[in-house]
């Protein structure tokens, strides 16, 4: 494995000019959502960067995350990133299959023990679940994760399933699916949620690790702040309409055509932290809200169980009208009965009551 060469050396070997390298660094800064002024620092770091080994495990997943990654519309940069990264195991992307593939994984683990980056997409049946719900080469997901974890430098959980449990965990969670961080306790974990995550965010996080060799700053959900630091809502180009109170009421009304805010159509942008509004999808072509679809909140925990996608964020998941009415009726009965009892008592008291006389008054004197 030629992991000893720095990235700078490798790029020059590939005939990348200095202007090309400068451009590469500018693109990388942009990718990492860093200010363009960081490009020189990135260049310096990249000159020294080593080629890390990456082991990518796919568990209860739909391959959407991998699809997203490979649909990244910056193939040059992508190639470069993936080229400088030694993707030693990824059972969808690698050429080898079957036992050869598993051997590659074991070899890579041995060769880079304690240094490799472990990438996981998909949730996995938890310790108390039937491990048979998801296995690879006869090995349960949990066992494979725990083995791979032991020698990993850090773990990147790609996609909402790996980060938060995702759709496999949706009620009633038949497979007992858990997230990676439910299992990992002693290794740094970076969550890169999204269903799937924005491709540039996946590569951006990898680039960050590659360039700086350390974990980025994370939020409460262990998401890199660089990409998940702001709510969709706060970066949405439709935000001015929200602030002015201009809303699309249906998917085909005037407001929808005029590009007004989709809050009333269920947009979860206010509670969703992701980079869609600025990074966009398909090489910056568009993103869901721009396409007229409310944000589903796919990069947030429990988005799958948080009520209808087309119900406004402030509306409760389910309104139990029957219970409220029943409680009201109980209140009416209890209140009514209590008053009736009091009234009966007062009336009985009045009937038995003796009028106040002046003689009685005088007794006090």
């Amino acid at each position: 494995m030629a992991a000893s060469k720095t990235l700078g050396e490798r790029l020059r070997e590939r005939g990348v000019s200095r202007r090309g390298f400068l451009k590469y660094c500018a693109a990388t800064a942009s990718l990492m959502a860093l200010p363009p002024s960081m490009a020189p620092a990135i260049a310096a770091a990249l000159e020294r960067a080593r080629r890390p080994s990456v082991i990518w495990l796919s568990f209860q997943e739909c391959t959407g995350c991998t699809e997203s990654l490979t649909r990244s519309f910056s193939p040059t940069i992508e190639d470069l990133i993936l080229d400088v990264v030694s993707l030693d195991y990824h059972h969808t992307l690698q050429a080898a299959s079957g036992e050869a593939a598993e051997r590659a994984r074991e070899e890579a683990m041995r060769a880079h023990w304690g240094e490799y980056l472990l990438v996981v997409d998909g949730s996995l049946p938890g310790p108390r679940a039937n491990p048979g719900y998801s296995t690879i080469a006869g090995i349960s997901n949990l066992q494979m994760l725990e083995e791979a974890l032991a020698g990993a430098a850090a773990v990147i959980a790609i996609g909402t399933c790996a980060a938060f449990g995702g759709l496999p965990q949706a009620r009633p969670n038949p497979t007992g699916a858990v997230s990676v961080s439910d299992i990992v306790t002693d290794k740094p974990v970076i969550n890169v949620p999204g269903c799937p995550p924005v491709p540039m965010v996946i590569t951006g996080v990898l680039a960050q690790y590659l360039v700086f060799g350390q974990l980025p700053e994370l939020d409460e959900y262990r998401r890199p702040r660089a990409f998940y630091g702001q709510a969709i809502h706060d970066r949405c180009y439709r935000r001015p309409f929200y602030d002015k109170g201009l809303f699309a009421e249906t998917f085909d009304d005037e407001g929808a055509r005029a590009g007004w805010c989709l809050y009333r159509l269920g947009c979860k942008g206010p509670s969703t932290y992701n980079a869609c509004a600025t990074m966009r999808w398909n090489g910056g072509t568009s993103w869901p809200v721009e396409a007229g679809a409310p944000c589903l909140g796919c990069s947030e925990a429990s988005f799958w169980d948080a009520g209808g996608f087309y119900r406004a964020l402030s509306v409760p998941a389910e309104i139990d009208g029957a219970r409220i009415l029943a409680a009201g009726a109980v209140g009416a009965v209890v209140g009514g009965a209590a008053v009736a009892l009091t009234r009966r008592r007062v009336r009985a008291g009045e009937q038995a009551r003796e009028p106040v006389t002046v003689d009685e008054l005088e007794q006090r004197q």
Binding site: V315, E318, I319, L325, A329, G331, V334, G335
Partner: protein
């Protein structure tokens, strides 16, 4: 890992239904407790009507008479400011309107967010001022019970948590939003069992006041 989100879903789901149920139970019980008591027949020859003056008082009592305004300008002004601000935040913030529409099917246009935001900020300041006033004014201090401070807190919390959530001043956001909803639910639960009932009963009280005076030919 999903604790704040689980919390948010709990306050938006089961807790919300519980809060509304307790609110419905308590409010209906209280309203019946009032109306079922009724009034004794009044045999005195009336000088004026009851309904008209009663309804008029329901409206007019919102505005203080000039003398009272002179003697207690703080109470009148700040009282107005925070009540109006609270109502703006409650009834004219779009997400709230959405919620009300989902609940009762009635909706209305909201105000632009910067306006609601400003109203909320003003209301928060006004509420703090009312607390200070309550702690310092001899009559208010003397009158105040633990319940009064509880009610102040219960009123303040939905506003401050809403403000913090809107401006994302505390995180993570699901926790901030969840706390806001929970604060509103506490408000709903506490309402029927405390002086917060005045939200409904003040109008009943004003009507009785106007009717009692109106019958005697005085517009109260």
């Amino acid at each position: 890992m999903s604790d704040p989100m689980a919390f948010l879903l709990w306050v938006k789901g089961p807790m919300f239904n519980w809060a509304l149920a307790i609110f419905a139970l308590g409010t209906l019980a209280r309203l019946l407790e009032i109306f079922l008591l009724g009034r004794r027949p009044n045999y005195a020859e009336p000088r004026g009507g009851e309904w008209g003056p009663g309804l008029r008082t329901v409206l007019t009592r919102s505005v203080a008479d000039p003398g009272t305004f002179q003697r207690a300008p703080f109470d009148v002004l700040v009282g107005w400011i925070w009540h109006v601000g609270f109502l703006i935040a409650l009834l004219l913030f779009i997400p709230h309107i959405e919620l009300i529409q989902a609940l009762i099917g009635l909706g209305w246009p909201g105000l632009p967010n910067p306006v609601v935001d400003a109203a909320t900020a003003v209301t928060l300041v006004a509420l703090v001022a009312t607390l200070i006033h309550r702690l310092r004014h001899p009559v208010k201090r003397h009158l105040s019970t633990a319940e009064d401070y509880l009610i102040w807190t219960v009123t303040f919390l939905p506003l401050i948590t809403g403000y913090l959530a809107y401006h994302r001043l505390i995180g993570p956001y699901p926790l901030a939003l969840g706390l806001h909803i929970l604060a509103a639910e506490i408000f709903l639960i506490v309402l029927p069992f405390t002086k917060l009932t005045h939200i409904f009963t003040a109008f009943i009280a004003r009507w009785y006041n106007g009717a009692i005076f109106g019958r005697k030919g005085v517009q109260s």
